[in-house]
């Protein structure tokens, strides 16, 4: 097995790219598209995504911070809701508070997110995050 623990010598730009996949009906909320390649900031400022934050979110084109908290699943859920979700008036179909709507399974690189620290999992360049709704399975 090839071990590749250190990512290539600091190719560390301000953004990281991820593969986000939706299934089980989640894709209907995100442009009816199963797979998305997204670029999100490597760091974020936690208060900026707090539900009490009065300031409207910065546009996704705003310059990404060069330091702060490493982007985690908590941030990704917020980011997907703010920037990728089709119907901004129905966030409850995707998330509940800062976490995911119950009944949606998250796999990070094919592993149950419960094994990866759930919201605290810090995202790495190239991670694959799968959101599958179990709510419509018949």
């Amino acid at each position: 097995m090839a071990t590749d623990s250190t990512t290539a010598a600091s190719e560390a730009g301000p953004m990281i790219s991820l593969t986000v996949e939706f299934g089980g009906g989640m894709e209907l909320l995100f442009h009816h598209q199963h797979s998305h390649n997204v670029q999100i900031p490597r760091f974020y400022d936690p208060p900026s995504i707090a539900p009490t934050s009065s300031s409207s979110p910065a546009p996704p084109t705003a310059p990404a911070p060069l330091q702060g908290k490493k982007s985690d699943i908590r941030y990704l859920i917020w980011w997907l809701r703010e920037y990728l979700l089709d119907d901004k008036n129905r966030p409850e179909l995707f998330s509940q508070g800062e976490t995911i709507r119950p009944g949606i399974l998250i796999l990070i690189n094919s592993t149950d997110w419960e094994l990866e620290g759930e919201l605290e999992y810090e995202l790495e360049e190239g991670d694959e995050c799968v959101f599958i709704s179990t709510l419509h399975g018949g």
Partner: protein
């Protein structure tokens, strides 16, 4: 607290989640999934999952080997003969996973290269398997026909595929069986005319002003399951398999209680039940996934790369406000499960302790009383019970009498008028839940036309007539033994509930 559990400390937050184990419970590999609180690597998850399936299919397997209850009694089934099985296939993840499990565990093909010892070929658990897809596009809100998509999902499997439209529950029929729901006793009649679109007529009779979305979902499910049972029997299958998971069963348990389905709960949540309605029939309905969580099914489908369709049911769908009890309960159960991973299994284990009416009947060797609409065990007297617990308006009772009297005190002949022929009344035969559906659960809107201004008739599938006739025959046979049940009629009920009547 009555449940015997220590009262939770009010100030305490939800129990801090214990981090799941960082290695598989059975080996030292890194795990891929947590089930309840146990971590598994893929291989050991697969073992655990297959074991749960084997437990779930065991009743059907035994049935396949030993035959129908009547075969067991007279030893008719020979050693190698196995039962034919029908799989109710919706195209969703659960039924797709069930099909995969069946193929891999219950049908061993001689040319299967994955057999560890190719010389040992155990006979398949079942004689054959037929995949049946019910096209529900005829139901308003269900969207287009997806039969071809579903057919493509199973094209790789060795099993024959067949699709049937939900509408065909109305055929073959030479006459039209209908009931007038402006009469509280749901008088029925049979005519020779054929309506153009009986399914839409039946489902649209449930209007939002008099019925909840739950009623629509429930009636729809009665039609679907009646059709599945009929098709299984007519194809010579002795076993019907459906793909309900533990989550679905838990949700059905709670929603079913709310809908007045308590009596037949055992049949609706059990792993399997004997649905045979006729002496010669004999159909076992089994749910092999009923102890498996949707999370497990979803993970298995993902890793095994099993394609499935996204179900877009109007009643569990994307519009929370329009959603019925099931969708509300689903959110409730899933919300609990997120914090208390044993919610679903606790609900199921509790419900399964209720036992089954059909099993009681077999033990007592009596023929079961089945509701003609949903086909599940029914309790006698649901109609009287409902009358007794419902607040009726005086005008309801008045309008029940065709000769509407102008005097405010009810005329005694109303009792007789309500039941011109008890043979024609459907209400006394229905289970409580179906009675609620057919009589409507919401009060009529203000200013709505009174029932006698407009005749309200809905066409019912022929199987309802067939089962109603059968029920009456059983009742007649029993008459000599237990005596005729007193039908009190409107007047008797009116006297009983006089104190509660509201004058308008």
């Amino acid at each position: 607290m009555s449940c015997g559990q220590p009262a939770p400390d009010e100030t305490q937050e939800l129990p801090a989640a214990v981090a799941p184990a960082a290695t598989c419970v059975r080996c030292s590999l890194p795990p891929g999934i947590v089930v309840r609180t146990t971590s598994y690597c893929w291989e050991h998850f697969h073992d655990h999952f297959t074991f749960a399936y084997r437990k779930g299919i065991d009743g059907a397997r035994t049935r396949s080997r030993s035959g129908r209850p009547q075969d067991v009694l007279n030893g008719a089934k020979r050693g190698t003969k196995r039962s034919k099985v029908m799989l109710a296939f919706s195209g969703g993840a659960s039924s797709r996973v069930l099909l995969d499990l069946l193929q891999k565990n219950s049908f061993t093909r001689p040319d299967d290269p994955s057999l560890s010892n190719p010389r040992f070929k155990p006979p398949p658990t079942f004689e054959s398997l037929e995949i049946l897809y019910v096209d529900e596009s005829g139901v308003p809100g269900f969207g287009p026909d997806r039969t071809e998509e579903v057919r493509a999902l199973v094209a790789e499997t060795p099993f024959p595929f067949r699709s049937i439209k939900l509408e065909s529950i109305f055929t073959p029929s030479t006459t039209t069986f209908s009931t007038s729901y402006s009469t509280p006793s749901l008088l029925t009649s049979t005519s020779t005319s054929t309506p153009l679109d009986p399914l839409t007529s039946l489902l649209s009779f449930l209007s939002p002003s008099t019925h909840s979305p739950t009623s629509l979902a429930s009636l729809h499910s009665s039609l679907l399951h009646s059709l599945l049972r009929r098709e299984a029997l007519s194809s010579g299958c002795e076993i019907l398999l459906t793909g309900e998971t533990a989550n679905r069963v838990a949700i059905q348990t709670i929603a079913g209680m709310a809908e007045g389905r308590g009596f037949s709960m055992g049949e609706e949540v059990g792993c399997e039940w004997e649905a045979s309605e006729e002496e010669g029939g004999g159909l076992l309905v089994a749910r092999p996934l009923s102890s498996i969580l949707l999370k497990e099914v979803t993970y298995y489908a993902r890793i095994r790369e099993l394609e499935s369709l996204t179900m877009r049911r109007p009643e569990t769908g994307v519009e929370p406000k329009k959603a019925g009890i099931e969708a509300l309960v689903q959110d409730f159960v899933n919300g609990l499960e997120a914090n208390f991973p044993s919610t679903v299994s606790t609900i199921i284990r509790t419900a399964q302790k209720l036992g089954m009416r059909s099993a009681d009947e077999r033990e007592r060797k009596v023929e079961g009383i089945r509701c003609p609409l949903c086909g599940l065990p029914a309790q006698l007297g649901a109609e009287d019970w409902r009358k007794a617990i419902t607040i009726s308006t005086l005008s309801d009772l008045k309008s029940a009498a065709p000769s509407s009297s102008s005097t405010p005190s009810l005329p005694a002949p109303a009792a007789a008028a309500d039941l011109p022929s008890p043979e024609a009344a459907l209400a006394p035969l229905l289970c409580y839940s179906c009675l609620l559906i057919m009589q409507g659960t919401l009060p009529p809107p203000r200013g709505a036309p009174t029932p006698d201004e407009e005749e309200k008739v809905v066409v019912l599938p022929p199987y309802v007539e067939e089962m109603a006739r059968r029920r009456r025959r059983i009742a007649e046979e029993e008459e000599g033994v237990v005596g005729r049940r007193t039908v009190s009629g409107v007047e008797g009920v009116r006297r009983e509930v006089e104190g509660y009547l509201l004058d308008e």
